[in-house]
Structure formats: structure tokens, C-alpha cells
């Protein structure tokens, strides 16, 4: 059964002076129950708009979204019992501690005192928030504030979790702790829709992903399928001794510090590695990363993104 179905979903924002911005353009999407689905796209691509509509926060211009078979416009109050949202760039209450945030949010949502207490301690520990659990949010770093907000939402174990850039501003250790708790949520049956700009996060977490560009779904499938779908499937990273100009005929080239990276076909590997050996230059061979595949797909040169 599908947990979320979007059909021909379109959203046009009307700005000042009747300026129209097309944020979603006929999006069709299905997310299976219990799946962890990632939404990728550059800033302004339409990810947050999609989440807002699906989470009953924003009305679409046309099309429809249903959650667990019920239309989000017609049955919003009932569906709100089954969802929880980490908003993009949200911040916790100044005066509350992380423990109070989680506990109070669970109580507000109707949990009993005992179960809310037990769940709070469980999530605080799982998210690595124990050392900070009694400190007011105003004294916490941005990353810890974000972890607090994510802990509030994940603690709910809602059947559908919308996580809009949940690990924004977190260090790599914290991100991995959050990933663990997100995975636990899906194991317990929650469906997760995640947006992120960390491509490694999408690759590690999601069973399926979609790439959205200018309000349209450009790709839907697994991360490995996205990488293997590209014409250039191999990544060669050269040390000093090569210029971007001489590598350009072999594929897409970009420069990272003193390294030159080439995305190319397998057939070119032998020729280029031999050339590197002749010149005494370092060369490293590997698969194209999801980030490179993403940038190739959305069609903007990598150097421009950098």
C-alpha cells in the first residue's frame, strides 16, 4: 500500500505585483508504506513546497495529495494525528531544555505522562543529547538546537514523518546518530520523506529517491541506479601534472584544489591511467558519487555549483 500519492500536483505562488512563481509543475509521486524516501534538488527546486502541501501546511494550486488513502485537503484534521514535521530551519523554544522539548511535545500530542517520560529518555539517549538534556536551548549551539528539534519529532513515532533538511548544521557524528534514529523509525513502521542537501545522507538512508528540478521530478529510483544511469560512470582524480583543458575531450572535468577530477566512460580509463603513469602523476579511480550524478542530472556544470 502507498503511504503517499501525489497526482499532477501544481503550486503557483503569487508574489507582489501579481508575480507568479511556479514551484511545482504537475508532480506525480508514490511512496510506499514504511519506506524511507529522499527528495533531492537544488534550492528553490520545490522540495519544501511539496512537503508543506503533503503535511497539510499549504494548499496546492491544482492536483491532489493523499496520505494513507485520504486527501490532505479534505481530511487534514484526521491526517494530522498521523504526521509529524521537522520544518526547514526551525529553531526550538528559548527557555526549554531538550528533555522538556521532547516531553512537552509528546504530552501536547496526547501521550500519557509515563509513556512520554519513557520515550523522552529513550530518544534523548539515542540522539546523543544526554549531556545537554538539562540545558536551556538558548545556551545550545545551532547543531544541538537542530538535534533537539529533530528529537521532538522522531520521538512521536508518527506513521508519517516529514523531515525537511533534518541534519542541517550538525557535525558528522551527530548526523550519524540521527540517521540511526530515523532508521529505527522506519523499522517500527513509520514512512519517512526526507529532503537533504547532503547527498551522502540520501545515499546512506534512503531506499528510494527523487530528484526535483524547477518543480518537476527529473528522476525517481535508487541512488545506485541514478549513478549507473549516467553516460559517464567512472571518476578519475588526477594529481598535479594534468590540465583541465587536455582532459575535457574525455568527459566532464572540474578542479578541486590541486586535483583535477574527470567523469568519463570506462573505455577511457586504460589510456588515461597509462598517461598518468608516464607522467609520474597520481591517479585515483572510483565510481561517480551521487553528488556528481545529481549535478550531471540537473544539468548545471559542476564548476558553477562549486
Amino acid at each position: 500500500m502507498d503511504a503517499l500519492v501525489a497526482e499532477s500536483l501544481t503550486k503557483v505562488y503569487l508574489g507582489r505585483g501579481r508575480r507568479r512563481t511556479l514551484a511545482l509543475d504537475g508532480v506525480d509521486l508514490r511512496i510506499g508504506k514504511g519506506k524511507l524516501f529522499a527528495f533531492l534538488g537544488r534550492n528553490g527546486a520545490g522540495k519544501t513546497t511539496f512537503i508543506k502541501i503533503a503535511a497539510t501546511l499549504l494548499a496546492p494550486t491544482s492536483g491532489r495529495v493523499s496520505l494513507f488513502g485520504e486527501d490532505v485537503l479534505a481530511h487534514a484534521p484526521r491526517l494530522r494525528e498521523q504526521i509529524a514535521v521537522v520544518p526547514q530551519e526551525g529553531r526550538p523554544f528559548f527557555h526549554l531544555t531538550p528533555r522538556e522539548h521532547v516531553y512537552e511535545y509528546l504530552r501536547v500530542r496526547g501521550a500519557g505522562a509515563e509513556s512520554a517520560h519513557a520515550r523522552t529518555e529513550e530518544v534523548i539517549a539515542a540522539m546523543g543529547l544526554e549531556p545537554y538534556a538539562g540545558i536551556q536551548a538558548q545556551a545550545l549551539s545551532g547543531g544541538l538546537q537542530q538535534r533537539t528539534l529533530v528529537a521532538m519529532i522522531l520521538a512521536t513515532e508518527a506513521p508519517f514523518l516529514f523531515l525537511d533538511e533534518p541534519t542541517l548544521g550538525m557535525d558528522p557524528f551527530a548526523r550519524r546518530q540521527v540517521w540511526k534514529v530515523i532508521r529505527q523509525a522506519t523499522r517500527k513502521g513509520s514512512t519517512v520523506l526526507l529532503t537533504t542537501h547532503y547527498l551522502d545522507e540520501a545515499e546512506h538512508l534512503s531506499e528510494e529517491l527523487a530528484v526535483i528540478e524547477a518543480g518537476r521530478i527529473r528522476y525517481r529510483g535508487t541512488a545506485s541506479d541514478l549513478k549507473s544511469s549516467l553516460a559517464r560512470e567512472v571518476r578519475l582524480e588526477f594529481g598535479p601534472g594534468f590540465t583541465a583543458e587536455e582532459l575535457t575531450p574525455f568527459g566532464r572535468v572540474y578542479v578541486e584544489g590541486d586535483r583535477t577530477v574527470l567523469l568519463t566512460r570506462r573505455s577511457a580509463v586504460r589510456e588515461l591511467t597509462e598517461l598518468a603513469l608516464e607522467r609520474g602523476s597520481e591517479v585515483a579511480l572510483g565510481p561517480v558519487t551521487l553528488e556528481e550524478a545529481f549535478l550531471e542530472l540537473v544539468g548545471r556544470p559542476i564548476e558553477e555549483e562549486a
Binding site: L57, A59, A76, R80, A84, F93, H95, G110
Partner: protein, 257 residues
């Protein structure tokens, strides 16, 4: 969630958004005290020696000012939590109904205003003693004024997309409600042909009703005579409260268009 659970949710919002911050930062209360006490101080210094009868008017004004500014707090807090901290989002996308969120936020604002209101009532009781019946009427006026101001504050907060737009507009609206009309001064000092204009502002009804209950009078009766009728004050206060509460429930943008 049942209705009982929704009411409980509102109380919990008041607990963590109003009472906990108040307990941890008691200085927040000073902000509510400061303006009405300043007005009262100037009134006392300027008019006190010649017109000691005006002091209870000023104290009643302090009570209503503190209550009305709960609406300004509501406007600022709701806008801040929605626009700056994105916290309204996590309550919208949850079993908490709009009414519970609104009530919880409004009770939080009342928690901030309560110490000032309580102190003004105490001072009033010392300066102008009154009975239990009068106290109950006064509490009823405070309750309706709080409901009117906070629903208005919430309603306005939902229409803005920028926090910077909120602050000047909030000050403008709530100053119009709490400073310009006869809240701190008797309505009879307004020129007779303009006295009706004071009743275009809903807070005037609250102020006049409180004064009738307290038996405060100053100067000549208002013109036209309708403006002296207690039922007119009750009708005005209940009507404007129902209007703003109705508008807040019908027009507030819980889901962005």
C-alpha cells in the same frame, strides 16, 4: 484526540510557553509593568495633587492596558514562532487543533500579564475599596478584554510574512486600543461632540464597564445619553469580543493559501 485532551494540550502550551519562561526569566514581567506604571506615575505627578479622584481611573487603566497588551504579546509571539522559529508548523502538523494552539498561546500571554494585573487590582483595592461583586465584574471585563485582544493579535499575526512588518503594526494597533481611548483618563474630558468617537474603539466599552462597576465618575455625563448606559457597554464589549474571536476562527490562516 478528545475535547478534554485538546483542552489539556492548551494548558500544556501555556505551561511551557508562558509559565516556564516566566519562572526562569522573571524580568520578562517588568516589560509588562513598565508602560502602564509610567502612565500612572505621570498621571499622579501631573494631576494627583489637584484631582486625587483621577487616580482610580489611572489604576483601572493600568489593569486594562496590561490586559490589552497581552494581545500585542500574542501578535508578536505567534508571528515569531511561525516565521522565525517555524514552531507553529510542528503544532499545525500534529493532532493539536487550531483552537487549542490559540488558547494555549493566549493563556501564555495572560500568564505574563497576570502579575501586573494582580498588582494593579491590589493597589486599586487600597485606593478605592470595592466588594466581591465588583471584583467579579472586573474579572469578567478582564477576561473578555483578554479574549478580544488575543484573538485580534492572533488574527493579525497570520497575515504577515515578515517579522519586521509585525512590530510597528502591533505597536500601532495596540496603542490605538490601549492608549488613545479613555482607558487612563475619564471619557468626560473628551469634548462633548467627539465623545461618540471614543466608542469606535472596543476597549472603551471595557473601560467604561469597569468604571460603572467601581462606581467611578468624573465630570458631566456623556453625550448622547446612550453613551452612559451600562447595557451599551456590555453589548459593545461582548459584541467586539465575539466579532474578533469569530474572525480569528474563520479567517486565521492555519494552512497557507
Amino acid at each position: 484526540m478528545t475535547r478534554g485532551s485538546q483542552a489539556y494540550s492548551a494548558l500544556r502550551i501555556c505551561w511551557f510557553n508562558g509559565l516556564i519562561p516566566l519562572w526562569r526569566s522573571p524580568l520578562l514581567v517588568a516589560a509588562v509593568f513598565l508602560t502602564p506604571f509610567s502612565f500612572l506615575f505621570f498621571l499622579f505627578v501631573i494631576e494627583g495633587p489637584t484631582n486625587p479622584g483621577l487616580l482610580p481611573f489611572g489604576i483601572t487603566g493600568g489593569i486594562l492596558f496590561s490586559t490589552l497588551f497581552a494581545g500585542n504579546g500574542m501578535l508578536n509571539d505567534c508571528a515569531y514562532l511561525r516565521l522565525e522559529r517555524q514552531l507553529q508548523t510542528i503544532f499545525v502538523a500534529s493532532p493539536v487543533r487550531p483552537f487549542s494552539y490559540l488558547l494555549g498561546m493566549a493563556l501564555s500571554e495572560l500568564a505574563f500579564a497576570a502579575p501586573a494585573i494582580g498588582l494593579f487590582i491590589l493597589i486599586l483595592a487600597l485606593v478605592h475599596p470595592f466588594g466581591l461583586g465588583t471584583l467579579l465584574v472586573l474579572l469578567g471585563v478582564i477576561g473578555l478584554t483578554w479574549l478580544m485582544a488575543t484573538t485580534l493579535g492572533f488574527l493579525i499575526s497570520t497575515f504577515f510574512r515578515q517579522l519586521r512588518e509585525i512590530w510597528p503594526i502591533g505597536t500601532l494597533i495596540f496603542s490605538t486600543l490601549a492608549i488613545l481611548p479613555p482607558i487612563f483618563y475619564p471619557a468626560s474630558v473628551i469634548p462633548a461632540r467627539w465623545q461618540w468617537a471614543a466608542f469606535l474603539v472596543p476597549s472603551t466599552y471595557a473601560s467604561q464597564l469597569a468604571r460603572v462597576a467601581l462606581g467611578l465618575s468624573f465630570g458631566s455625563p456623556l453625550t448622547p445619553p446612550l453613551l452612559n448606559a451600562p447595557w451599551f457597554y456590555v453589548l459593545g464589549l461582548v459584541g467586539s469580543t465575539a466579532l474578533f474571536a469569530g474572525l480569528a476562527s474563520a479567517l486565521s490562516r492555519w494552512r497557507e493559501p
